[in-house]
């Protein structure tokens, strides 16, 4: 696989992951992630492994009526992909109650699965507009 092909493959898996959020499909989302996935909502503690990350992803999706992550920029280099996004959330069926500007950095492993996911955003904006917990209690 050329470097270009690898980056294209990595970008495709990240786009697939983002589409799964739009479909509110936890299985489709988790299928994009490696067994040893490390998920960090900066500056919170990392959540590691399929089991624990699924709990968080599922918890957020359960509370979501509609999700649309507008992808403003998406490109890769080596095994890293950046997504600059506006994450639109409808938590109560009354429209986009939260539009969260966000950057997500993704590490993709040799098998083409996402093994690192680091989101950067303003936590207060998330929590004050209906965003549910982002750590396991």
């Amino acid at each position: 696989m050329t470097e270009e092909e690898k980056v294209a493959r990595n970008v495709a898996i990240v786009r697939q992951f983002i589409d799964a959020w739009g479909a509110i499909d936890v299985d489709a989302a988790m299928a994009c992630l490696s067994d040893d996935i490390e998920y960090i909502n900066q500056p919170l503690d990392p959540v590691c492994g399929q089991h624990d990350v699924r709990k968080i992803v599922d918890g957020i999706m359960q509370l979501s009526k509609k999700v649309h992550w507008e992808l403003r920029n998406c490109f890769g280099r080596g095994n890293v992909v950046v997504t600059e996004r506006l994450d639109c959330w409808d938590f109560d069926g009354n429209g986009w109650g939260l539009k969260l500007p966000c950057i997500g950095m993704f590490d993709v492993n040799d098998d083409g699965k996402i093994s690192g996911w680091r989101d950067y955003f303003d936590n207060r904006m998330w929590f004050e507009n209906g965003g549910p917990t982002l750590h396991l209690d």
Binding site: F75, R77, V80, E84, I103, R124
Partner: protein, 138 residues
């Protein structure tokens, strides 16, 4: 004619020079890399527009800082964009320790001639203010 790869390398070098200006607390070194109509956006705050306003903002961040060091975790460009994933470390009081270690991503947009025209920072604003970061509003 500059090739696309050359242009991306040049853009990355511009962004690295801009961030080096922060390490040196050197406002003019930073400003040498930006356009007159530059826009600086700290999500989720108000955008700061124009070189003079951005200069004021950066100078007022540098004013209370004793030392600063930006660790670059990832820097790479695509078309006219450059992404930086960083840990920005600040010593505000001269304690010799890093009192603030801010995890942050900055997305830069550059002009055809390789100057920074837009800079969008994504981070947790409370993490910044709680650990000594000064106001980011003019």
């Amino acid at each position: 004619m500059t090739s696309q790869a050359d242009k991306i390398a040049r853009n990355e070098a511009t962004v690295r020079a801009f961030l080096k200006g922060w390490d040196d607390l050197d406002v003019e070194a930073c400003m040498a890399q930006v356009t007159e109509d530059m826009c600086y956006l700290n999500q989720p705050l108000e955008a700061i527009r124009g070189k003079e306003n951005v200069r004021k903002m950066i100078a007022s961040i540098f004013a209370p800082a004793k030392r600063c060091k930006f660790e670059l975790k990832n820097v790479f460009g695509h078309e006219n964009k450059v992404i930086t994933e960083r840990v920005d470390r600040w010593d505000w009081t001269g304690s010799g320790t890093w009192e603030l270690e801010l995890k942050v991503c900055g997305m830069f947009e550059l002009t055809e001639n390789g100057r920074i025209i837009e800079w969008r920072e994504y981070y947790d604003n409370e993490d910044w203010t709680r650990k000594g970061g000064p106001s980011l509003v003019l």
